[in-house]
């Protein structure tokens, strides 16, 4: 018998019953809920007179709509307020654990799950949000689901799933200094494309991935969805176990020992077969900047905005031309000539303590450039914010002219008051550069926290490696 991949092991351990050859009813261990994709699911349950199957697997938090300033005054936008209140009413009436906006544990759902130890190795984790792939960093099978599936999981604790294909993306060797997890994942998407992982569960492996902290692994898995894969994952090792230990929802005592022994098996067998394998040379990865309106449209900081005429495919050329027009860029211009109006450091991709530390290191003793209208740091959770403040990082940012905000999704998707105005250009540590993502007509460039900080200081993109 051939060996199993990590994904095969996670799948097999959760099959309740098989519907046909490759569709199964999978058991769900953790269900994370936020305000945007859940109201219609709770309503559906009520209309059908159904009860949730197992409420203690659910953790709910508002994140998309919450303001990042003046929280004590509540949510000004009445439509956002109703959505957050609806979540609170829905979950508290069912006895589901809920972190309200005033709770220090509140934050972006994909930051707080791991931070609380609510995400554990070997679990199946779902959330009505595509970036649920983040949790795969723990050797978990985590997938984003739609609202009908949120309702299905609430009612049955199961998800009807088709088995995906196994894909391995191996980042071989070591990255150079100044190259971060974000640069690795942007380079991967640039290589395989936004549909490169469609229908697959991607396991990220190789020395450069093993060298990453848990924060870095979460950044990489977070963007698996941008490569088209519903799930991304990394095998469990000592780094994983050390991160999970003593977190509030992590097992303790005898259960801890038992769990760790099981978790150590959560890696692909040496003879496991993958349907697709991609190798990427870590040493060749430079800090990345996206130039277009799809996350595969990336260039190295030392490079130029590409020429659509050279793409060699008519549909692709048209897409690139449209992107350049929307972004207001010229083919062939050096990436370092692109000036920015706003800088956003945060999101479930890069709103963790390590990200904020990396940005602070660049900003320390410097000032935000004159042409930058707004530079903001939005920590991923209240606890990240608290810890950063204990380290004095808030002061570093404030002294440089950044704003230091309260936790939430913020300008990652601009559902709250934080957004770009038409034509404004932003260096953003988030994950999507789609048209209008950060505000109608806004132009997003995806970068790492250190690169965003460097752009804030220089007023244009610059190689952070030249700054120290």
């Amino acid at each position: 018998m051939t060996g199993k991949t990590l994904y095969d092991k996670l799948w097999d351990a959760h099959v309740v019953r098989r519907e046909d050859d490759d569709t199964a009813l999978l058991y769900i261990d953790r269900h994370l809920v936020h305000e945007v994709t859940s109201p219609q699911a709770f309503e559906g349950l009520r209309l059908a007179g159904r009860q949730p199957w197992r409420t203690n697997t659910v953790l709910a938090v508002p994140d998309h709509n919450v303001p990042t300033t003046d929280r004590d005054r509540g949510i000004a936008d009445p439509v956002s307020r109703i959505q957050v209140e609806t979540l609170q009413d829905n979950v508290t009436s069912l006895g589901i654990t809920f972190f309200p906006m005033s709770d220090v544990r509140q934050g972006i759902v994909h930051v707080i799950g791991p931070e609380q130890g609510a995400t554990l190795p070997g679990m199946t984790v779902v959330c009505g949000d595509s970036h649920t792939s983040t949790h795969g960093a723990f050797g978990a099978l985590s997938v984003g689901i739609g609202t009908s599936e949120v309702e299905h999981v609430l009612a049955t604790q199961c998800l009807l799933q088709k088995k995906m294909k196994n894909m391995l993306v191996s980042v071989d060797g070591k990255v150079g200094p100044g190259v971060t997890a974000k640069d690795i994942v942007l380079a991967i998407i640039g290589e395989i494309g936004t549909a490169g992982g469609t229908g697959c569960a991607i396991e990220f492996g190789g020395e450069a991935i093993r060298d990453l902290s848990m924060e870095g692994r979460m950044t990489v898995c977070n963007m698996a969805i941008e490569a088209g894969a519903r799930a991304g994952m990394v095998a469990v090792d000592q780094t994983t176990i050390d991160y999970v230990k003593d977190r509030p929802y992590a097992p303790r005592g005898e259960h801890w020992e038992q769990a760790v022994a099981a978790w150590r098996e959560l890696k692909s067998d040496p003879d496991a077969k993958f349907d697709h394998v991609v190798h990427i040379d870590a040493a060749g990865i430079q800090p990345q900047v996206s130039w277009g309106t799809s996350p595969e449209m990336v260039a190295p900081i030392g490079g130029r905005v590409p020429d659509p005429a050279l793409s060699g495919d008519a549909v692709k050329t048209r897409g690139m031309e449209r992107a350049l027009e929307y972004m207001g860029l010229q083919a062939g211009m050096p990436v370092t000539d692109i000036q920015v109006d706003k800088v956003f450091i945060g999101s479930c991709t890069n709103g963790r303590l390590e990200d904020i530390r990396a940005a602070a290191q660049v900003v320390k003793g410097r000032r935000v450039a004159e042409n930058v209208k707004l530079a903001m740091v939005v920590p991923g959770s209240g606890l990240v914010k608290q810890q950063a403040e204990q380290e004095g990082l808030d002061k570093v940012f404030l002294e440089a002219g950044f704003e230091w905000r309260d936790p939430g999704c913020s300008m990652c998707l601009a559902m709250n008051a934080d957004r770009l105005e038409p034509g404004e250009r932003c260096a953003s540590t988030s994950n999507r550069n789609f048209e209008g993502r950060q505000g109608l007509g806004g132009r997003t460039h995806l970068v790492s926290p250190a690169m965003a900080a460097a752009a804030a200081v220089a007023g244009h993109f610059v190689d952070v490696r030249d700054m120290n």
Binding site: R17, V36, H152, T156, C158, T198, G228, F434, G436
Partner: protein, 213 residues
């Protein structure tokens, strides 16, 4: 869920690849706590020249005459023809609700993003996959022939053009069955409640940390 069996309808050609869910329904409309009412703001940023907000009277807004859905020739279309990787981006089911609320019952594209694909089946919207070359041919035909209609037959798994040319498509048998009969998967799953309980028993013994009191 509404059944899908057979449909003959006009086709709207949306000639773009990687159409993302932010484009299908922009985020300001996700604040709704309802499942309906998303049709008027489907493709909002492309469809209108002025910025849209929830609660506006969208019929009073300035339409973008260059956007395909505003072309009088495609009014009443129930089939959307698009390029590859349709529905990429977020998990928002609002994207599917917007398409169905507008009146679409089927999408034809060479490929889809996974979450969008599975959301579609749960709402009676058929996301149909045809080869890139066939999709290309259909684009040419729709553009050349006003009033162009396609017949989508889920039972027979075929798409038929006005000239009688037929293309067959693949669809997962379980999903096809649910769509043909308009079945709700929650009800189907709950028929297996005993299996779920048996799984919990067995798993709880192996991995008790997953089942805290």
């Amino acid at each position: 869920m509404e059944k899908f069996q057979r449909l003959t309808a006009k086709v709207a050609p949306l000639d773009r690849s990687n159409v993302d869910t932010d484009a299908i329904i922009p985020k300001q409309y996700l604040k709704s706590v309802k499942r309906t009412g998303f049709g008027p703001t489907l493709f909002d940023d492309w469809r209108y020249l002025d910025p849209g907000e929830p609660g506006m009277d969208h019929s009073q807004r300035r339409q973008n005459p260059d956007f395909v859905l505003n072309d009088p020739r495609y009014q009443g279309a129930q089939v959307l023809l698009a390029r590859k990787n349709f529905g990429c981006g977020s998990s928002r089911e609002h994207a599917v609700w917007a398409l169905t609320d507008y009146g679409f019952r089927a999408v034809i594209a060479p490929s889809y993003a996974d979450i969008f694909f599975s959301n579609s089946f749960k709402n009676g919207l058929l996301p149909l996959v045809l080869d890139e070359a066939i999709v290309d041919q259909l684009f040419n035909e729709v553009l050349a022939e006003p009033g162009y209609q396609l017949t989508v037959d889920l039972e027979a798994q075929t798409v038929e053009t006005p000239s009688g040319e037929r293309f067959s498509f693949q669809v997962d048998p379980f999903r096809r069955h649910c769509l043909l009969n308009g079945l709700d998967d929650i009800g189907l799953t709950l028929q297996h409640a005993d299996d779920i309980r048996a799984y919990e028993q067995k798993r709880g013994a192996e991995a008790p940390w997953l089942f805290p009191a």
